[in-house]
């Protein structure tokens, strides 16, 4: 168990390194830089551009800095650590070394603010939204899926199918607008232009909108796993033993059917926290979703690197947790 965790954590290092390397390569290949202004606006002049590049470290070579290495060597430096540091004194090297210390660099767009400060400031809003959405998805999705599976082709089954279809096919900006028009303009239950994001109440409507897709996903997974478990031999045995259907469902079917469902919750929550761009935009929630998208359009290099690395880190962790939780939930896997 411990060795498994350690192994996985060690694996995370090359994964994160290459995620950083690939995004660094990609963003520098994309045409246009962070200081390029559109032609109907005042352009940055050459002297200022030079100072800007120096300030953000863009005057350094991209990946490695052999010149610095040679210069230090000629100057008589023989300390291998300092020589290695000189060799990686490049945009990429410096970024990754700083990222190790938790410094994700200054944002190019929001001047004067660091990427980690911006994300740290805004993530609680995204987390709240994601938690509401996840709660909704679990509380509604699992029971709906179970009922749909136990009573196939019943009303509940069709309702689950309906929500699954709506959740997948109606884009969230349409759904969000419909919710706002119905509950905001007509029923007046919610305030449309709220900025009260430090409380929980305004998150309910956006949470439902965001959670619908996850809910339909969870419903379908629950339904199919319950259907599968229902046909297992041990369920027949339990019934043959004379157990009441209540007990069979609760103790035998649900317990086993929920394993795959629980293991998907990590990635689902991850998706909800980082992938709520559209919902956040419709409901004007100041979350972190916008940084994941805007950074690329604005070529905000450090923000692109920062969001990508954080996303990769969360993904790695979520996968470790999922693999661990398999072991917790299913003794057959644990013994292996």
């Amino acid at each position: 168990m411990i060795s498994f965790i350690i192994r996985r954590i060690l694996w995370a290092i090359p994964v994160l390194f290459f995620v950083g390397l690939v995004s660094f390569f990609l963003m520098h290949q994309a045409p246009g830089g962070p200081f390029d202004q559109d032609n109907n606006r005042k352009q940055v002049d050459a002297a200022t551009l030079k100072n800007l590049n120096a300030r953000f470290g863009l005057d350094k070579p991209s990946y490695v800095n052999p010149r610095e290495f040679v210069a230090d060597w000629k100057a008589g430096m023989r300390n291998p650590f300092k020589l290695a540091r000189a060799y990686v004194d490049s945009q990429f090297g410096n970024y990754m070394l700083n990222a190790l210390h938790g410094d994700l660099g200054p944002s190019f767009r929001q001047r004067g603010q660091n990427v980690q400060d911006l994300l740290k400031k805004q993530w609680p809003f995204s987390l709240r939204l994601a938690l509401i959405a996840l709660t909704f998805a679990i509380v509604v999705g699992i029971p709906l899926g179970v009922v749909a599976a136990l009573k196939q082709n019943s009303l509940a089954d069709y309702i689950s199918l309906f929500f699954a279809t709506v959740g997948v096919s109606v884009p969230s900006f349409i759904l969000g607008l419909i919710v706002i028009i119905i509950f905001g303009t007509h029923l007046r239950w919610i305030k449309i232009s709220t900025n009260d994001w430090r409380t929980w109440k305004p998150y309910i409507a956006p949470g439902l909108v965001l959670g619908l897709l996850s809910m339909s996903f969870i419903t379908r997974i629950t339904r199919s796993t319950v259907l599968e478990v229902k046909r297992q031999d041990y369920i027949r045995t339990a019934r043959a033993k004379g157990l009441g259907s209540q007990a069979v469902i609760m103790r035998h079917i649900l317990r086993n059917a929920l394993i795959p469902v629980v293991t998907t919750l990590g990635p689902v929550l991850l998706g909800l926290v980082t992938g709520a761009v559209i919902t956040e935009s419709i409901f004007s929630i100041p979350g972190i979703g916008k940084y994941f998208v805007d950074a690329i359009f604005q070529r905000d290099y450090s923000m692109i690197m920062g969001t990508t690395l954080i996303y990769a880190l969360l993904l790695v962790v979520a996968n470790i947790v999922v693999d661990l939780s398999y072991g917790f939930l299913d003794p057959r896997i644990r013994t292996q």
Partner: protein, 635 residues
């Protein structure tokens, strides 16, 4: 059995808390110094009752767990949890993490009472530091709370602001401003002439490089300061400042010396980069000083009463120390609504008083019996044209440019493709701006002349015309229909074949940096920085400028006229030279000019006295005049 059930719930809790903890750790909560954390936790605890309603129990647990995990990661942050648990409930712990991130207080409800003007705007500003701003979502807010030496009235005339008068020397190479006596900031401290000098220093400071750093190039020594290298030349900065042509004579007199005659400097003195900055007031508080309302010293009609960069709240109160008329409203509150359709719902719900709707809704709004009455439009500060890359074939041929200019049915294009958000124009400088030429009627839509011009260029009926790509930014989804409309129009009227070429926004910007890669055809234009013909003609079309270079526009006669006008001390003669230059520009067919941008608004009848101006930001009307004279009747 029970043990296994425990496993289940444990796994779920583990999943949720770990996710939270990792997120918290990524944010780097651990670095907050212990002492400030304690005070902030206490503040949060005291205001906690009002700030945070009780969250659902399960999530409170998660929040608490995650704070604990984050705290365990570094010993310094342990104080956060310790202080918070002694001081308040878990709900307050949550708030304290949020509060310690920015140092802002956690209160969320509005502090304003009375007759409040509620503005709906799309995006929260990236900066509120006047010398770092450059966007329409930043500048108007600073315009409410600040005032330059001069200001613009709604007719875009330069009128006295903080300075009551100004005087040029004989050849317009120096200007002296006389400030009003007894000017005070909102906190009661004195506003001195040196604060305006400081604004110039800050703008040109190489340690604070910004888009508008080169705006004071005409001042002696400004280029030297601005192009000093950082950090190698940092030590020289004080000397470079002293060497600049900025002289503070006494507390109420300041003069600027120029490298060449600059008869339009009083207009530049009204721009946001000239808003006074008290010496070492903001900078001493770090790069993010502007995020706290109390750090802003206002000399305009309003004062920032609340800035919450985290929750995106922006509020203003009247400035009691403003020299001029006091605002008639008790406060201004800005609501940031990113989506225009949602903004319209908020407006219908009476949650905001002023709002710029989606152009696609204009027809429906005008037809609505109630909203139609509240619909207003004003001409904005941009001129748009179909741009030709004149450095490359076939647009290096003037006849081809003429053909395209004649082939553009402006009325139909503006009505159908632009939804009436432009006002048709054929001249370069927009109406309302000095230098506007009302007599310009050349190259209006005329299919017959278009065909003739194309034939004269050697492509009768479009025969032999090379394949031309029409490039547009795909980052704005509305562009596709517009471009397809234009292409069909050109194909019909000229018989040429054009290919639509969607390009991601920033990629297109990069392509437009060089004449070799600049698209042959695209929609472009210019928006005013300050109302002077120099900003429109010399800054854009003089062949020494990057804009003219990338479009391949070069006309020695035009250069000569604009250079002469820029340095001409006689206002009448100067204006005539600009008008002549503009005539020349149109004669060369610089582009197929089609319209001036229009700002469209929905304004509640309760709002009275709003002064529209062409220089207003597209985010809200009346910013140029700092919303002076605007009143709201109590709802």
């Amino acid at each position: 059995m029970n043990l296994r059930r425990l496993h289940h719930s444990f796994a779920i809790t583990l999943l949720l808390t770990l996710m939270g903890a990792i997120l918290a750790a990524c944010g780097g909560t651990a670095t907050t110094p212990a002492t400030t954390a304690v005070t902030q936790a206490t503040t949060a605890a005291t205001s906690g009752g009002a700030a945070a309603t009780t969250p659902p129990a399960a999530t409170t647990e998660t929040m608490a767990a995650m704070t604990t995990t984050a705290a365990e990661a570094a010993t310094t942050a342990a104080a956060v949890t310790a202080a918070a648990t002694t001081a308040a409930t878990t709900a307050a712990t949550d708030t304290s993490t949020a509060a310690s991130a920015t140092g802002t207080t956690a209160a969320t409800t509005s502090d304003l009472t009375g007759n409040i003007l509620r503005i709906g705007a799309p995006t929260f500003p990236d900066s509120l530091d006047p010398q770092a701003e450059s966007f329409s979502n930043e500048i108007p807010y600073s315009q409410l709370a600040n005032e330059g030496l001069t200001r613009l009235d709604k007719g875009l005339k330069t009128v006295p602001g903080a300075a009551e008068s100004w005087e040029y020397n004989k050849d317009d190479t120096a200007i002296t401003f006389t400030l009003r006596s007894g000017l005070k900031y909102s906190d009661g401290s004195h506003l001195k002439a040196s604060d305006f000098a400081h604004a110039v220093y800050r703008t040109a400071d190489p340690r604070n490089p910004g888009d508008y750093a080169s705006s004071f190039d005409m001042i002696k020594g400004a280029t030297e300061l601005q192009s000093a290298a950082v950090p190698t030349d940092t030590a020289k900065i004080p000397d470079l400042r002293k060497a600049m042509g900025v002289k503070v004579i006494d507390d109420t007199h300041i003069s600027f010396q120029f490298t060449q005659p600059t008869p339009y400097f009083q207009t530049i003195a009204s721009t946001w980069i000239m808003f006074p900055t008290k010496v070492d007031w903001g900078d001493a508080k770090g790069d993010n000083w502007w995020q706290t309302a109390s750090n802003h010293l206002s000399n305009g009609p309003f004062v920032f009463s609340k800035i919450d960069t985290q929750g995106e709240v922006l509020e203003f109160k009247p400035n009691p120390n403003y020299w001029g008329d006091k605002p008639k409203v008790d406060g201004v509150s800005v609501r940031f609504i990113k989506d225009l359709s949602v903004g319209l719902q908020a407006y219908k719900n009476n949650e905001i008083d002023i709002f710029g709707p989606d152009p696609n809704d204009i027809a429906d709004l005008k037809a609505d019996p109630e909203l139609g009455q509240q619909y207003h439009e004003s001409v904005g500060s941009c001129t748009l044209e179909v741009e030709f890359n004149q450095a490359r074939k076939p647009f290096d041929n003037k006849n081809v440019r003429e053909a395209f200019a004649y082939a553009l049915d402006r009325d139909a294009f503006i009505r159908d493709a632009q939804k009436g958000t432009y006002v048709k124009t054929l001249g370069w400088i927009p109406p309302g701006f000095p230098g506007y030429d009302a007599t310009e009627k050349r190259f209006d839509f005329d299919p017959a002349k278009a065909k003739a011009a194309l034939a004269a260029a050697g492509y009768p009926g479009g025969k032999g015309f090379p394949e031309v790509k029409y490039s547009y930014s795909s980052s704005n989804p509305a562009n596709q229909a517009r471009v397809e409309y234009l292409i069909q129009m050109f194909q019909k009227n000229l018989g040429v074949t054009l290919t639509p070429d969607p390009v991601e926004g920033k990629t297109l910007t990069a392509m437009r940096k060089k004449a070799e890669t600049h698209p042959l055809l695209n929609i472009g234009g210019w928006c005013s920085d300050y109302p002077d013909p120099q900003d429109w003609l010399s800054v854009y079309w003089n062949s020494s400028q990057s804009f003219a270079k990338v479009l391949g526009y070069k006309d020695p006669a035009f250069d000569k006229l604009t250079n002469a006008a820029d340095a001409e001390p006689d206002p009448a003669k100067r204006m005539q030279e600009y008008l002549d230059a503009q005539k020349l520009l149109i004669a060369n067919v610089n582009g197929a000019i089609f319209g001036n941008s229009k700002n469209i608004w929905l304004i509640k009848p309760a709002v009275q006295g709003l002064q529209f101006s062409s220089q207003d930001s597209a985010d809200f009307p009346g910013s140029t005049t700092s919303l002076q004279g605007v009143s709201v009747t109590k709802q």
